[in-house]
């Protein structure tokens, strides 16, 4: 498999008024083409920092990233959908095209075809406030996909949704990303979400973040993320990942059980 990006000894330090904080400490790993790579870590372990560095928005304090794609081929999906209320769905989806000055007829039609394909075709003229949370998150994904990324970064993109919606949207996102043949890196603190979606899962330590271990997910790839949750290997992998996670506070442990 071909590497899409590789991190070499990446470290990052935040400077604030009251001192400096080491967020990431010597991180090394590679992500391969078309894989769904998960990053699990305790809250506040610098996961978002890591994504910003991968996206090229933030420059790491030291270390090097080798990319086999240009930064413009990286898509980013945030925790909340951040759809603009003053634009309808169609205009929200083409925002990225507009910004990059590539709002050609062909690209607009491509964005529209994605909306149609994922059952949002009837809503192109609607305002975001008229859509449900799950639909909004799918629109946000299509806004990213409209730029035809080769790699997509997902920063806890389901954490703002209720549990029921979360499962279906996660499945939708997995299906869309697989069908479009895109590589994905998902950051989350939800172990079962990571196992249901990802092919490999990296567990981070508490701050400063290091990669403690990378797990291979042996669950059949063809299954849907909901079926994967019922696979026999699921609970074993869950236990292993969970054991690997550190908790700075014993009370926190309860949250992940």
């Amino acid at each position: 498999m071909k590497e899409i990006l590789r991190l070499k000894e990446i470290s990052h330090i935040y400077h604030g008024k009251s001192g400096e904080t080491k967020a990431i400490d010597g991180m090394d790993f590679a992500v391969y083409e078309q894989e769904f790579f998960g990053i699990v870590g305790p809250s506040g372990s610098g996961k978002t920092t890591l994504l910003s560095i991968l996206a090229g928005i933030l420059k790491p304090s030291s270390g090097e990233i080798l990319r086999n794609i240009s930064p413009s081929e990286i898509g980013y999906m945030l925790q909340r959908d951040h759809l603009f209320d003053w634009r309808n769905i169609d205009d929200n989806v083409t925002l990225g095209l507009e910004i990059r000055g590539i709002k050609t007829k062909e690209n607009v039609l491509y964005a529209r075809s994605l909306l149609e394909k994922y059952n949002l075709g009837d809503f192109v003229r609607k305002k975001p406030s008229e859509l449900s949370g799950g639909m909004r998150q799918r629109v946000a994904l299509i806004r990213t996909l409209a730029l035809r990324p080769k790699l997509i970064l997902l920063d806890e993109p389901f954490s703002a949704l209720d549990f029921q919606t979360r499962l279906t949207v996660a499945e939708d996102v997995r299906k869309i990303i697989r069908e479009e043949g895109i590589t994905a890196i998902l950051v989350t603190h939800d172990i079962s979400e990571a196992i249901s979606l990802c092919d490999r899962i990296a567990v981070l330590s508490a701050r400063p973040a290091r990669v403690k271990k990378i797990f291979e997910n042996t669950i059949e790839k063809g299954l849907s993320s909901i079926e994967r949750r019922e696979a026999p290997e699921f609970s074993d992998l869950f236990k292993e990942v969970w054991k690997e996670l550190e908790f700075t506070d014993e009370k926190d442990k309860g949250k992940y059980q």
Binding site: I57, Y76, R80, F84, G96, E98, I99, R100, L147
Partner: protein
């Protein structure tokens, strides 16, 4: 209000009737108070309970009004004041908006200028009257400068605060789409601040009138502010009251224009 097509329940019909009745009552009372106010004023003056030399009365105000109209100067005064106010209002809003954009774009500049803006905002602008007259002359320019000065600082502060309170994550989103600063401004900051800018417009309508009338008190040879000062000096209270009344109507009209603009922009 959206009309529901087809059959509506008896209960809903009753509810709608009740709503209409209550609106009619409120509007009716508002009109009643207005008419009563002028009627009682007129009546008290005619019965000589109040001195109409000092308090004037609606009929005398009307005579002042028609008098001005007959002399053919009514429109001159009204248009002079209106023009100054509109120019002052538009320029203050525009200048305020542009300065807010510049301060938002250049963060160090904003931090350097912050204390100066706060102090300028606290300063009573009317104190600058004599300086303005000396600098730009005792004419129409001085009045417009006054109108601009009185509202420009508060415009900058209101709009800039709105700009700065734009969701940081939305800016991050724009950055992930590789937007530059200008695109973040035009595609995110300005559109998300539309209500905020309209709110500034509403405040500025009032401020522009204050500035213009203040300016006219100081320098003018025409305009409603001039009529009020002149009327006061020659003890023609009917002229003062009449001009004030015209001013009230014009200010209300201009405010409604902003409301209409708001409706159009927000759709």
């Amino acid at each position: 209000m959206k009309r529901i097509k087809g059959n509506i329940s008896e209960e809903h019909r009753a509810y709608l009737r009740k709503r209409r009745a209550s609106t009619a009552f409120v509007v009716g009372m508002q009109l009643f108070i207005l008419v009563q106010f002028f009627l009682v004023w007129e009546l008290l003056a005619r019965k000589e309970i109040i001195d109409s030399f000092i308090f004037s009365c609606p009929s005398k105000m009307w005579r002042s009004f028609t008098g001005l109209a007959k002399q053919g100067v009514l429109w001159d005064h009204v248009s002079a004041t209106l023009l100054e106010t509109v120019i002052g209002f538009l320029s203050a809003t525009l200048i305020g908006l542009v300065i807010a954009v510049i301060l938002w774009s250049v963060d160090p500049l904003r931090r350097i200028l912050e204390p100066y803006i706060v102090v300028l905002n606290a300063l009573p602008k009317i104190a600058l009257g004599p300086i303005i007259i000396i600098w730009v002359g005792a004419g129409r320019a001085a009045i417009i400068v006054m109108a601009i000065l009185i509202s420009v600082v508060i415009t900058i502060i209101t709009i800039l605060n709105g700009f700065l309170s734009v969701d940081k994550d939305k800016i991050l989103l724009m950055q992930t789409l590789s937007a530059n600063r200008w695109q973040i401004l035009t595609k995110l900051v300005l559109p998300s601040n539309l209500s905020n800018i309209i709110a500034a417009l509403k405040v500025n309508v009032g401020m522009a009138w204050v500035g213009t009338i203040m300016g006219e008190y100081l320098v003018s040879r025409e305009g409603l502010g001039y009529l009020i000062v002149y009327g006061g000096q020659v003890f023609n209270l009917s002229l003062v009251m009449c001009s004030t009344m015209i001013l009230t109507v014009l200010a209300a009209l201009m405010y409604f224009c902003v409301l209409i603009l708001e409706k159009i922009v927000k759709r």
